[in-house]
């Protein structure tokens, strides 16, 4: 029975606990939806009550097809996510999904770099797992994770590859951001990278855009933008995407772009994952 991602379903909360300050880990029983989730996709979680109407789009961190559950890790960033933290075991929660295009894990690559920043890290866990499941020892993963101060999920990545951690505060690992860490400590590793998957805050992706270009890397970024519906109908969550890819167009920024340089694409439907070269910062 193929689940229709636009079928809004009442699901069951299995667990919902804080794993770092203001970071929560929720397991949701989603029935057939679990079968169709691809790494890099997200789900819409809805808040009850009729006051906070818009969906909270949260990336999927893990899927358990046997138990028919998905795992989401979310940050408390506003009123809606704050209310989500109060959902307890056996509560119902309405879910729409899976949504978005997800990462392309069928690329030909032997050494892959995954770069996660803060709450952009969760979807990379499912991505790492699927890459390893698909290619086994034929692929080597290098995982780079950056946090402000509190580190979460990093240990779970160790099952799939080498994990390098950077924290702004220096509480763990390299003191600084992921770009700084890679430039100062990982130059040899970077030379062997075939492909990059990244998800995280815009400043990190902007830095990584320049970094990837500098080292001639190919890859995909998962973007975010404030959403309305989350499934392509309202045309709210747009980002400017380059029309052509060449040396000149790489220099275009949000400040300098003119109408002919870009098209607005929907993060929820055309994305959230895009070829990083197409993204205008």
């Amino acid at each position: 029975m193929c689940h229709n991602p636009l079928n809004k379903v009442k699901c069951r909360v299995i667990s919902n606990r804080e794993i770092a300050p203001n970071i929560y880990n929720m397991i949701i029983g989603v029935d057939d939806m679990a079968d169709s989730v691809k790494p890099g996709q997200f789900v819409n979680l809805y808040v009850k009550g009729g006051v906070h109407l818009l969906p909270r789009p949260i990336s999927v961190c893990g899927v358990n097809r046997k138990q028919k559950t998905i795992r989401v890790v979310y940050a408390v960033v506003g009123e809606g996510t704050k209310i989500l933290t109060t959902r307890q075991k056996r509560d119902s929660i309405e879910v729409l999904g899976p949504l978005g295009n997800g990462f392309n894990i069928n690329v030909e690559a032997q050494h892959i770099l995954l770069v996660g920043g803060g709450v952009g890290t969760p979807p990379l866990l499912e991505t790492a797992k699927k890459l390893k499941e698909k290619k086994g020892t034929a692929v080597k993963l290098t995982i780079v994770l950056g946090f402000k101060n509190d580190v979460y999920l990093a240990d779970e990545f160790k099952a799939y590859g080498d994990v390098h951690i950077a924290t702004d505060s220096g509480s763990k690992g390299f003191k600084g951001n992921v770009i700084q860490m890679m430039e100062s400590e990982m130059k040899e590793t970077i030379k062997n990278i075939d492909y990059v998957y990244a998800c995280g805050p815009t400043p990190m992706l902007k830095g990584l855009f320049d970094f990837n270009n500098k080292y001639g890397l190919k890859g995909e970024f998962s973007l975010e933008e404030r959403m309305g519906c989350g499934f392509g109908a309202c045309v709210g969550c747009v980002v400017p995407i380059r029309r052509v890819l060449n040396e000149e167009s790489m220099k275009i920024t949000k400040e300098t772009m003119t109408d002919i340089d870009y098209d607005y694409k929907k993060v929820c439907q055309d994305g959230p994952v895009f070829n990083y070269l197409e993204v205008i910062f």
């Binding site: 109407l53 818009l54 404030r226 109908a233 045309v235 109408d259 607005y264």
Partner: protein
């Protein structure tokens, strides 16, 4: 039970329409909603040339509603004719095309191109800013509203309804002006203008600063305006503004709407149109209403 309504001489199988800008041309909903079951699809606003729309963020949540400043991003009338009309014609529903424009000439150009197309009705979106008048919306001034209606009516082949903006002191004045301009029907309300400020970043949430306020929070304003306009003109009315379920739809019809449109609700529940239709049927069964048209405008 009869759900069929006749509006501007066109037979609609039921009074449930989709509001412009919330349903595109239906493709995103095709897999979850049987488009044959919807009375009429009012498409996303179409302009003569492609419009890119505003920068993001375009969306903000408010208490019981939302703000949008999408800016009418659309690929233009040529693409619409080539792709959206054939898509919709696969289904047994009525096609109502929403017209967007920045000048009277732009509106007319779209209407002219649609004159030879197989669409059922045109909805004139007069909440667009008139660039020749300093960006003031067409729909806030009775004289401008009448003029744009009159000019588009000259070139329109299909019945023309005008979608009214609520951001005016007296919507009945605009309704009467548009009636004088030759409109065949009205739809109201479009969004209210609102704003949300991020107090920690200390700036507006929307890149456009202000946006259209929609959702259940605006329903009382919309119902009131339908009620007032019903008494002010002889034109048939499509009522919209915060309809989430069948009960809301019935409110609008009692107030004077011949048909209703579901908007923001679609974004929150892809099956909203069907849920609203089922809710209307439930109400009719409860009150032994055999023909939905019986309840239109029966509020004193």
């Amino acid at each position: 039970m009869n759900l069929g309504v006749k509006f501007c001489g066109i037979e609609f199988k039921n009074p449930v329409f989709t509001a412009s800008g919330t349903f595109n041309s239906g493709k995103e909903y095709e897999s979850i909603v049987n488009l044959n079951e919807i009375g009429g699809i009012i498409c996303k606003g179409v302009s003569n040339k492609p419009w890119k729309g505003n920068s993001a963020p375009r969306i903000a949540e408010t208490y019981g509603g939302m703000l949008n400043a999408v800016g009418l991003q659309n690929p233009g009338i040529d693409v619409f004719i080539k792709e959206d009309i054939p898509f919709l014609r696969q289904y047994d529903t009525k096609i109502i095309v929403n017209l967007a424009g920045r000048t009277i000439e732009e509106y007319c150009e779209v209407a002219e191109k649609l004159a030879s197309e197989d669409v059922d009705m045109l909805e004139l979106n007069i909440s667009c800013p008139n660039v020749k008048e300093g960006g003031v919306a067409f729909g806030i001034d009775p004289a401008m509203a009448e003029l744009v209606t009159r000019e588009v009516k000259k070139v329109a082949k299909q019945p023309l309804i005008v979608k009214l903006s609520p951001n005016v002191t007296d919507i009945t004045e605009i309704a009467k002006a548009v009636e004088a301009g030759g409109a065949d029907g009205l739809s109201l309300i479009n969004t209210l203008i609102g704003m949300k400020i991020d107090i920690h970043k200390q700036k507006p949430v929307l890149a456009n600063k202000m946006g259209g306020f929609s959702g259940p929070a605006i329903k009382p304003v919309a119902v009131r305006m339908v009620y007032q306009v019903r008494k002010a003109t002889k034109l048939p009315i499509i009522g919209l503004g915060g309809i989430m379920n069948g009960d809301d739809a019935i409110e609008f019809m009692l107030a004077g709407a011949n048909a209703i449109a579901v908007g923001t609700a679609n974004l929150l529940n892809p099956r909203a149109t069907i849920d609203v239709l089922e809710g209307i049927k439930t109400y009719m069964n409860l009150h032994n209403i055999l023909d939905i048209n019986e309840i239109v405008g029966i509020i004193e």
